[in-house]
Structure formats: C-alpha cells, structure tokens
C-alpha cells in the first residue's frame, strides 16, 4: 500500500505578529513534515498581514493534514493549496555570483543573456546575476554556472499565485 508522494505549493495568509513564522516552522519540524521552500513577507501593511508560500511534499493524507494543521493555528487567516486549486504561476528570484576571466567569463555572460538574467554587479573578475524564473529554470542556470566559476547562489524560494481574476 505504498502511497504516492505529491508535491504541493501552499499559500498561507497570516497575521504579521511576533512568533507566527516560528509557529509555522515548529509545526513542520514537530510533526515531521517536509519543507522544500518557504518564503514570507508582509503583503498588507494596513492590516499587518503576511503571506507565506511553502512548498512541501507528502502523501495525500499528509498534505491534507498539513493544511488542516496550518488552518487551526490561531493567527492563520486562510490556507490555499495552489497545486490543488487549478493553474498557478510560481517564480523564484536568485542572485548568482560567478568569478572568472577569459572564455568562461564570456560564456557566463552569454548564458545569462539566454536565461534573461540581469547583471546587477560587475567587476573585472566577477558578475552577480539576477534571475527570475521557475525553480527548474533557476536550477538549470545555477547548474550551468557551476561549470563556469560559480561562487555562490542565493535564492528566495518559491512565491506563487493562482492564475485568473480571482484573488486569495
């Protein structure tokens, strides 16, 4: 009775109050759920609301548990499973530092152009690229840069939103 592991992107609207992120993270660590990515920032300044986007994986039963557990946290307003609720867009932003000279440096710049990455810092021996894309695109880009002098990568994790006119 091996159940299939599913990957889900879940958006959570919470009160932006002290400890709320610890509550969410504590829930995942305490109950042994996976977090593949988690992003959080305030999205409504007037009402002090923050939006958390998290990517998790588990069997259908576990994913349903995760949503129910999130929903019963007192400061949580809404929980939406973007994977379940129809088409959505997902994006990550990455900063990627590459150092090198000569042919490798030129190749890095050429690939950055193909991926529509922006150069946000340049020295004679390095670039910092800014790239926005899906997790897979960012993975690909970082993978390629690894062969061209990758120094470090910093990624935001996934932010996501449903397609169409309807809001959260």
């Amino acid at each position: 009775m091996e159940e299939k592991i599913e990957k889900h992107t879940i958006a959570v609207l919470v009160d932006n109050e002290p400890g709320v992120l610890a509550r969410v993270i504590g829930l995942f660590s305490g109950r042994g759920y996976n977090i593949e990515s988690l992003t959080v920032a305030e999205v409504n300044n007037a009402d002090h609301l923050s939006r958390i986007t998290l990517v998790t994986s588990g069997t259908r039963m576990v994913v349903e548990q995760i949503k129910a557990q999130l929903d019963r946290l007192v400061p949580v307003h809404k929980v939406h499973d973007l994977t379940d609720e129809g088409p959505s867009v997902e994006r990550e932003l990455a900063l990627v530092k590459v150092a090198g000279t000569g042919e490798k440096r030129i190749e890095a710049l050429r690939l950055a152009d193909i991926f529509k990455a922006k150069v946000v810092d340049a020295t004679l021996t390095s670039f910092v690229f800014e790239l926005t894309g899906t997790t897979a695109e960012v993975d690909d880009f970082v993978g390629l840069m690894a062969q061209l002098g990758l120094v470090e990568a910093s990624r935001t994790g996934v932010v996501a939103m449903s397609k169409g006119a309807a809001g959260f």
Binding site: P18, G19, G26, G30, A68, D71, H77
Partner: protein, 587 residues
C-alpha cells in the same frame, strides 16, 4: 465605557473577574508580585497556593474538567513557567481549557539572560493551543479576553499569556469582554447538513453498528452527553468509549460495552473489529484505541464527528467526515433520524447483539478472587460499592491503577472522571483531585493512585491540608511501577529494570505528619472497613494505603502492534507469537 486608568496588575484581576474566574491556582515569585499585590486587595477571586507549578496546572485541569469552565493558573517567570510546561502539554493533549498567566522579566531586559528569564512563549509554543507576550499595557485586557475565548472555543486547550513585570506596573485602559469577534479563529460549530444526512442514511443501513465516542462529547457539555444517550437509546446500537469519553453515556446501561482499546473490554474491542458501520463521535483514533492500523475495524464504513478538522483522516481514513461540535451534530442527527422516520434493521441488530452477548459472556474483567491477598480489582469493586449513590468525582494517576479504575468504576454522568489520557502524566491525579474538590466542596473526590505516581506530586498534600480539601488518596500499593513491570514481564523477559519502588515511606505516618488521616489495609477483610473510615473523613485529606498483589497484571490487553482481535484476556492467554519487532518499538 470608563476611561479610568488601571495598572496592568489591576487590569489582570478585572479581566479575570469579568471572565468569571472564581479560583486561580498559582505560586508567587518576583515577576508576578504586582499581580499578587492586586490579588491581596480583593476578595472575589480565591487564590490557591500550590506547592509546585506543575500541580497548579493539573489542579486547574481538575477544576475545568469537573465544572466545564476555564481553569486559571498564575506562575512566575523562568522556573515558574518551565515547571508549568508538563501541565500545559497535558491540557493540550486532553483538550482542557486553561488560561495560564506567567510573569516575565521587564520588557527592556527580555533577551538579556536576566534573572529568572525564560523564553516562555518559545518554550510553550508547541505545548499550548496559543500563547501571547503582552508588551503594551493597553493591549492587555483585549489579549486576556482573547485568551479565554481561544481556550474555551472549538477544541479547547491551554493558552499562555506572558506578562512582563513593567507591563504589570504600567497604567492602561481596561476594555470589557464584549462579544469577542476574533479576526481569524472561528471554529466551525454547526455541521454541514448534507454530511449529517449522509451519515443518517449509513447509520440506518447498518447491520453491525457501533458508537465509538470520546472526550469531544464531554467537552461539548452535559447537553451533548444527554443527546448522545438519547440517540444511542433511539437506535438501540452498542456503544463503547475512549478513556477520555467515560461518563458521556451511562455505564449502567445495557447498551454500554465498556471502554475500548489496549485495556478495553473484550466485547468492545471485538465489536469494533467486526462492525460494519462505526460512528465515531468526538474521538480521535488514538493509537491506544486502534492498535494495528492496517487491521483496525477492517471492512467497516466510518463516520467521524470532530470539531477539529485536523483530527479527521489523520490516523484513519474515514468515509463520512463531519466537522462540528459534538452537541450540534448530535442534535441534527437526532432531529433528522426522527424526521426521516429512520429505524435500525432490527433483525440484523438482534443477530449483532447476540454475537456481542457471546463476547460479553467471556466476562473479560474477571480475576482470581482469592482471600489470601488484596487484588487491586477487588479494592476498586469495594470502592465502587461504597460510592454507589453518593455524589462523587474520580481522578487517577497513570499506570495499571488508572486502567483498573477505568474498567471497574462505573460513570453514569459526564465530568465525573478526570485522568491524564493523552500525555499519561504520573502525578496528575492528586492536584486534579484538589481542583475538583475545591469546585465541589461537598462531593466526595477520590484520587485512585499508585504508590509511584503519588510520590511524583505528593507535596500537594500540603495544598489540600491548607484549604481543607478532604480529597481521598486511594493508593493501590503494589510496590512497583506496575505498568512498567507488566510490560517488562510480557515483553522483556521479566527483567524488572528499575521498576521496583524502593524505600517507600510509611504512608500512614506520612499522612499523620501532614495532619491528615492515614489508613492501611493489608488483608482482604480490612478493605471495606478502611473505605468506610476514609469516607467518614470530611475535614481533611485521607491517604489510604492498600497493599495489593504485587504481581497482578492488567487485562484484557492488546499488545503493541496487535489488532483488536488479538486481545489477551488473562495471564494464561500468552501472546500467540512473540510480539513482532515493529510492535516492540511502540510505547
């Protein structure tokens, strides 16, 4: 609304009064001195001084569970708060409404490793339903009212409000507890009617039905218990319950099968295993109840009523989930059952009862009624007879005596039985008994105890003496941590590693040292007399030391990792094969 300024400490007292608090259990310390000062200057709230903060929470639990109200606790910062942690988690596991106020170092010292500082909200986050750190005195009243709302609403639980000392001194505005409209927390009380209709159809079609009920019915209030009883009587179905749910349906009724689970009755467990429709009302498919999950009630359709959506499909996938308050759901069920003129399949039900009576005839709670030694079951049977018809409440500690109490003491009403179910906290029973006794001064409150559990919070005798709470501590003394010993005997080759209670005190002398009454029974014929004497004492606590059979084991028993139909009935009924390894690792 008066704009009159109060100090934070005065706001605390006013908020507690407005929330209907009449008793608060606590222990003073540096960080709560302003609140203790405010308590000193009023007479509406009675403060009960415990001897350890863990006991303050358990006492508040006993108070809450015997009254249906929110229990209230006051502890100081640092060790005061950390000592309360076990009690808080106990209340979380058993869904008991508690508001615990903790002192905190002044806001400007938070994070500086100040004296008696602890990250209380951090430590208690996974042990509470919710917690707050109040940094602004003008948010204090609103936060306290919200804490009470969160504690008692939906699935009840403990809430901590951490109060820095400067906030207790500061002047602020009080706001009364107007209808709290919490901006996010609004649990679903009323069920989806379509789901209830589906459930009714399934219930009416059942051939081998069973009600499996839990603490959710108790938490929904006495009215829910009444509705449950009515519905069960209307359908004529058998009913079993978890440890937490005892008393929601009268144990004296013929339809009652006794408790189910690891130490449940043969008939309850076999009926669960063989049922075709399971009606779970306010229980959570806990591992003590289900046993081996893959063989849990195979071939049954399951209805699950719970106010907490996260309880549904957590351990066991169900066919008809119904989110709502047990009372509200039962009301709808009963109404629809009558409106649709439903009737159970009488022929099938008759055959089902025939099967159940066959299991019942095994008389699974039978034991060796010897004259040579006091059997713990015998002592409880005699206690049961002595309490018959008397207004009484029972608390327990954790272990064999707890299971025997659940098996041998009948509960015909809700809120009469208080035991640490989810967390299994030894030392729960005495403080819980004190809390229940203070809420019901004229009733008989008995803490059914073991000698090892009693030692864990025996300092609370002092509390009971101070407030003249005549609790009866009924120790089934087998000189072992009995349940540990039992598992060691059955699973670890009788190697009794560290489970013998060495160096026990003389409990009679101990009682006398506290100014209590101490009684002892060592022979079968002394039991009745000792119980009689115990019940005659009404002005101070009584410690009763019953020297019971040291080797008695608690049966029936479903060994870890086994299914309901693999239940062992007695010592001669040894496990069919060695407990499988995956069962061994289970607790």
């Amino acid at each position: 609304m008066s704009e009159q300024k109060l100090t934070g400490a005065q706001i605390v007292i006013k908020a507690l009064k407005d929330q209907g608090v009449d008793i608060i259990f606590g222990y003073p310390g540096g960080a709560v001195l302003p609140i203790y000062d405010a308590l000193f200057q009023q007479n509406d709230i009675k403060h009960i001084l415990v001897r350890h903060e863990q006991a303050a929470v358990h006492a508040a639990e006993g108070y809450a569970r015997s009254t249906g109200k929110v229990g209230c606790v006051l502890v100081t910062s640092g060790p005061g708060a950390t000592n309360a942690v076990t009690g808080l988690l106990d209340a979380l596991c058993d869904s008991i409404p508690i508001v615990c106020l903790s002192g905190q170092v002044p806001t400007h010292l938070i994070g500086n490793d100040a004296f008696q500082e602890a990250d209380t909200t951090g430590i208690t986050r996974p042990c509470t339903k919710h917690n707050y750190l109040v940094k602004d005195v003008n948010q204090l009243a609103r936060t306290l009212h919200e804490a009470f709302y969160v504690a008692r609403s939906g699935r009840p639980g403990p809430v901590v409000v951490d109060l820095p000392k400067d906030v207790q001194f500061a002047d602020g505005i009080y706001v009364p507890p107007t209808e709290v409209k919490h901006k996010t927390y609004r649990p679903q009380v009323k069920p989806e009617i379509a789901r209830v209709e589906e459930a009714i159809e399934l219930i009416a079609s059942a051939k081998r039905p069973i009600f499996y009920t839990g603490g959710g019915v108790i938490n929904a209030g006495p009215f829910a218990a009444k509705l449950l009883t009515q519905f069960v009587k209307t359908t004529g179905f058998p009913i079993t319950s978890t440890l937490m749910g005892l008393g929601a349906f009268p144990a004296s009724d013929q339809q009652w099968l006794g408790m189910l689970g690891m130490h449940g009755t043969y008939e309850a467990n076999l009926a669960m295993y063989n049922c075709d429709v399971m009606i779970n009302i306010g229980a959570r498919f806990d591992d003590r109840v289900t046993g081996k999950l893959s063989e849990f009630a195979p071939g049954s359709k399951k209805i699950h009523v719970d106010i907490d959506p996260s309880s549904i499909n957590k351990n066991v996938a169900v066919d008809i989930p119904i989110v709502g308050d047990c009372g509200a759901v039962l009301e709808d069920m009963l109404r629809l059952w009558k409106a649709k003129q439903k009737r159970a399949d009488q022929t099938a039900l008759k055959a089902w009862w025939g099967q159940i009576e066959g299991w019942r005839a095994r008389n699974c709670l039978n034991y060796n009624r010897t004259e040579s030694v006091i059997k713990p079951q015998y002592a409880l049977e005699r206690l049961r007879e002595a309490l018959r018809g008397k207004d009484h409440y029972i608390t327990t500690e954790v272990g064999q005596h707890q299971m025997w109490a659940a098996q041998f003491l009948p509960f015909d009403q809700p809120n009469r039985w208080m035991t640490s179910g989810g967390l299994g906290t030894m030392g729960y029973g005495l403080p819980a008994a004190i809390g229940a006794q203070l809420a019901h001064p004229d009733a008989i409150v008995v803490d059914v105890s073991g000698e090892a559990s009693f030692l864990m919070n025996m300092q609370e005798i002092g509390t009971a003496v101070q407030y003249r709470a005549p609790v009866k501590i009924f120790i089934l003394n087998n000189k072992y941590m009995g349940m540990v010993r039992q598992w060691q005997e059955l699973l670890h080759g009788s190697r009794y590693s560290q489970s013998y209670s060495e160096a026990l005190p003389d409990f009679v002398k101990l009682a006398e040292a506290w100014g209590c009454v101490g009684l002892r029974a060592t022979k079968v014929e002394e039991v009745d007399q000792v119980i009689q004497k115990m019940l005659e004492v009404t002005d101070r606590p009584v410690i009763v030391d019953i020297a019971v059979d040291e080797k008695e084991n608690c049966f029936p028993m479903i060994p870890g990792g086994k299914a309901h139909n693999e239940i062992l009935l007695g010592p001669d009924d040894s496990p069919s094969d060695a407990t499988p390894e995956d069962g061994m690792v289970l607790v």
